[in-house]
């Protein structure tokens, strides 16, 4: 036996064994029933064994096992200059913290580029909840709420300047223009007159809303509605101050107008520097059943932040069964601050502000010395209360994040994709194998073994390199099956040509491989170039396709040029066949 042949044979055997060892955990896992997996995970040793198997097996992508893929943009404008690097690191840490508490197996949170974070949560059930938990900044602040004369005098001043300036804000006007176009079909009139109609229409409708929703304030002035409206452009959109809530009610229909009015430069100018308007999270129901919201006047000064919260949990709310409330425990320093704040402000309302929304504004009845507080009300569900507690434990994000990309796959779609992908692969394999055996007979059988070797090495490499198999990845494997045959076809056609010229079997095989090798390398390398480019420019699932396609090209070249050649060389040892089944 020639030495080079021995080396080649040894190489093939070693590679096959190596691929088999690499694939063993994947095989074991795929054959393990769900019941067995559960039984194993109940004991610590079993769990360790299972973890080991999982870490060595080929990972299934989120599109195959179901789950959520999120790309988060960290808003650099919400970070202090020069601290963005630190802010992103802390954001990562806090997100990991939150997700750990949320309870997902094998979450993956990592940074991409300068200001992006990729979160992958496999096998996730409640996508909406996860998004809320991840995307919320959860900046908790305790700030004093202003009431009484502070609010009424400010409102009066706002009404005065807004009435004096005489103009509604642009955004409001354009919104009203649209309304007037709807009511008055003949809207080609001159600009000034159409604006007037618009204002009149707006006054009517807003007055109507006010009366029906909130009981109305000045019902006696119906005769001079227009005039009263003009003098009170802001308060006419609101209900009277609710003493027990410490806020002003605004109907849903009026909310955008109030927001726009408060943003006008005239309004901004008279706003005292130390306070601001914030909306409450609670949704009230107006008299007509339509929703209304609360508007609070809140100090800008922050008495205490969520940073001082040492622990947070939930317990039943005694005032509102069966709802939950969130219990906070402050750090020592926080507890002292809290005691001071409550002590100094008995009788006032303490605004609990989360991400610039007032979630609760309880009355301070007495000084609270024990360093604990509760947040009650404002929660639509128990989950919301639990999630708030969770986020307060994990901490606030140092910067705002927004979801730039999301891909969620439900578990049933993942299962279907695997089933369909595997079926397509098996059927494709069978068709291709039948075809080449029919066409090339014994040589076709050899090529079939070559195909097995190609797939074995491909899967072995996937496991070795800890790559993730995705649905496009399966498509890449299927395509490899189709294209892997190509190298064999090139060789076999060459051998046939040589045989036709009248060469001996041995000479034909030699010449066939020699001539085809150059073609195979040239042809495959160009496809390989395309696959590698795809890998570099692609994202997520596309990368999976590029990976299997490029590895498939390499392993199919190995199988055609080395594996089948070695088998022929063995067959030709000490034998001079007259005919070749090809």
């Amino acid at each position: 036996m020639k030495r080079s042949l021995q080396i080649k044979a040894a190489l093939i055997v070693v590679l096959a064994i190596w691929a088999g060892i690499n694939l063993w955990p994947t095989l074991q896992l795929s054959r393990m029933s769900a019941a067995k997996e559960k039984a194993l995970s109940s004991t610590p040793e079993g769990l360790a064994k299972l973890d080991k198997l999982h870490s060595r097996a080929i990972k299934r992508g989120l599109d195959l096992q179901g789950g959520m893929y999120l790309v988060l943009d960290v808003d650099q404008s919400t970070v202090e200059k020069g601290t963005s690097e630190d802010a992103i690191k802390r954001t990562l840490e806090i997100l990991r913290n939150r997700i750990d508490q949320f309870g997902v197996s094998e979450p993956d949170v990592r940074r991409e580029g300068t200001s992006r974070i990729i979160v992958q949560l496999p096998g996730l059930q409640d996508a909406e909840r996860a998004k809320r938990l991840i995307g919320k900044t959860a900046r908790l602040e305790f700030r004093m709420v202003r009431e009484g004369a502070d609010v009424t005098s400010l409102l009066a001043r706002l009404d005065r300047v807004l009435a004096a300036s005489g103009s509604l804000p642009d955004s409001v006007e354009s919104a009203l223009d649209k309304e007037s176009e709807l009511s008055a079909s003949d809207s080609t009139a001159a600009d000034s007159s159409s604006t007037q109609t618009a204002q009149a229409a707006a006054s009517d409708s807003s007055q109507g809303d006010l009366l029906s929703d909130l009981g109305g304030a000045e019902e006696d002035s119906t005769t001079e509605v227009g005039n009263w409206e003009k003098q009170h452009p802001l308060t006419s959109l609101m209900g009277p101050f609710l003493k027990n809530r410490g806020a002003l009610p605004v109907s849903e229909a009026n909310k955008p107008r109030v927001e726009a009015l408060l943003k006008t430069p005239e309004a901004q100018r008279v706003m005292p520097r130390e306070v601001e308007w914030l909306w409450g999270s609670e949704q009230l129901t107006g008299n007509d059943g339509r929703p209304a919201y609360l508007l609070y006047l809140v100090d800008k000064k922050i008495e205490l932040t969520g940073g001082e919260v040492r622990n947070a949990g939930v317990s039943p709310d005694p005032d509102r069964p069966p709802l939950l409330m969130v219990n906070l425990g402050f750090s020592r320093r926080g507890g002292i601050k809290f005691a001071n704040v409550t002590g100094a402000n008995v009788g006032r309302k303490l605004g609990i502000v989360l991400d610039d929304v007032v979630i609760s504004a309880p009355n301070i009845r007495q000084r609270i010395p024990n360093g604990s507080a509760v947040i009650s009300g404002g929660f639509e569900s128990d989950t919301e209360a639990r999630d708030l507690a969770l986020m307060l434990r994990a901490g606030a994000l140092p910067a705002d994040v927004s979801i730039a990309e999301e891909r969620t796959v439900g578990p049933s779609l993942g299962r279907d994709s695997i089933k369909q992908g595997v079926n397509a692969a098996i059927l494709g394999f069978i068709v291709v194998v039948l075809f080449i055996i029919l066409y090339y007979r014994m040589a076709g059988v050899l090529a079939t073994f070559g195909l097995f070797v190609t797939l074995l090495l491909l899967m072995g490499l996937l496991a070795q390199l800890h790559l993730t198999l995705t649905l496009p990845g399966i498509a890449g494997i299927i395509l490899t099956v189709g294209m892997a045959v190509d190298a064999n076809v090139l060789i076999f056609e060459r051998i046939r040509e040589e045989l036709r010229v009248g060469k001996t079997v041995r000479a034909s095989i030699d010449a066939g491989y020699a001539n085809a090798t150059r073609t195979i390398v040239d042809a495959n390398l160009t496809t390989f170039i395309a696959a590698v480019v795809l890998y570099y420019f692609g994202t997520g699932p596309i990368k999976g396709f590029a990976v299997t396609l490029s590895i498939g090209i390499l392993t199919s070249m190995f199988s055609a040029l080395i594996f089948t050649r070695t088998v022929y060389d063995f067959w030709l040892q000490g034998r001079t066949p007259r005919k070749l089944s090809i």
Partner: protein, 310 residues
């Protein structure tokens, strides 16, 4: 078993017919692309949201549409996807309902509430922000452009420049026809379709190079034949390989199209079309282009100069 043992088909004699077929296909696609203002881009590239629900028993699409309208969710399109129970919803702005104080209504919960006697299950949800869409668009264009440049470089290095040029023109031909067909059939171009295009590029090139490789070889061996004869002979000699490989690849691509599932349906469709077009073009487009270039460069077709080109 063997097909095509007697291989003396005059492929190049039919190059005018082939040119007309190619031009007609490209023209139809290009007209469609112009009329529809470019290719129909999926949310991967233009940004937006889709939600796929499985609703059993199968609902009327109009039921789902009115349920969403009543729930205050603005949608641009509701279609079935793969089967009557699978409903694909294009949501204008998924997070619009999620104001600070407003209640966030999910598409799934709205539909489930409106169709109480149906089971509603979330199959898939994808949201791509406008910024990411823009980046993906750039990435995809770059990927195609970079791979074409690298391929010209590789072929120039291994063969000669005008082979590389002919190969790339052939690839442009293949992708244009497939792109045009997608536009004619109102199919969306998504990230995975771009992946299919790149695979087509790789595959078609594979085919073209096998023919070029044979031309290169025959140039050396058959110095007495004319350039055209050599090219035609090379096509014929590689024909059975071209057909066998195309068949196996089309088989698997078509199987993927038939049973691979709705998610990769369009991807497999692009591959199937691309492989057929790629096979056709490596015979009828790439080789005539090589000859065209050759004739253009040397009005006298004497043998002496030919050696330099091959």
């Amino acid at each position: 078993m063997q097909f095509l043992t007697d291989k003396h088909i005059d492929f190049l004699g039919k190059k005018k017919i082939a040119a007309m077929i190619s031009l007609a296909l490209i023209l139809a696609g290009v007209v469609s692309l112009i009329v529809k203002h470019g290719p129909l881009l999926s949310i991967d590239f233009r940004g937006g949201s889709i939600v796929e629900l499985r609703i059993s028993p199968a609902p009327e699409v109009s039921q789902v549409r009115s349920a969403l309208a009543d729930g205050g969710i603005k949608v641009s399109q509701v279609t079935t996807f793969g089967g009557p129970e699978e409903v694909l919803i294009y949501v204008d702005k998924l997070d619009e309902a999620e104001t600070v104080t407003g209640k966030h209504q999910t598409v799934q919960s709205v539909v489930a509430k409106a169709l109480p006697d149906h089971q509603v299950e979330l199959r898939r949800e994808e949201t791509v922000g406008p910024k990411i869409g823009e980046e993906l668009r750039k990435g995809a264009t770059n990927a195609i452009f970079v791979s074409l440049v690298l391929i010209v470089l590789y072929i120039t290095f291994r063969f000669v420049f005008h082979f590389g040029l002919a190969a790339v023109l052939t690839l442009v031909h293949d992708v244009l026809i497939t792109l045009g067909l997608f536009s004619l059939m109102n199919k969306e171009i998504s990230l995975s379709i771009v992946a299919a295009f790149l695979t087509i590029i790789g595959y078609s090139l594979n085919d073209t190079i096998v023919v070029f490789d044979r031309i290169r070889e025959n140039m050396r061996l058959r110095r007495k034949e004319s350039y055209e004869e050599v090219v035609n002979r090379s096509i014929n000699e590689t024909l059975s390989r071209t057909i066998i490989t195309s068949l196996t690849t089309v088989f698997v691509a078509f199987i993927l199209y038939l049973i691979g599932g709705a998610v990769i349906h369009d991807f497999a469709f692009a591959l199937t079309v691309g492989v057929v077009v790629g096979t056709y073009s490596s015979i009828y487009v790439a080789s005539p282009l090589v000859i065209l270039w050759y004739k253009w460069r040397s009005s006298d077709r004497k043998r002496g100069k030919r050696g330099a080109l091959a």
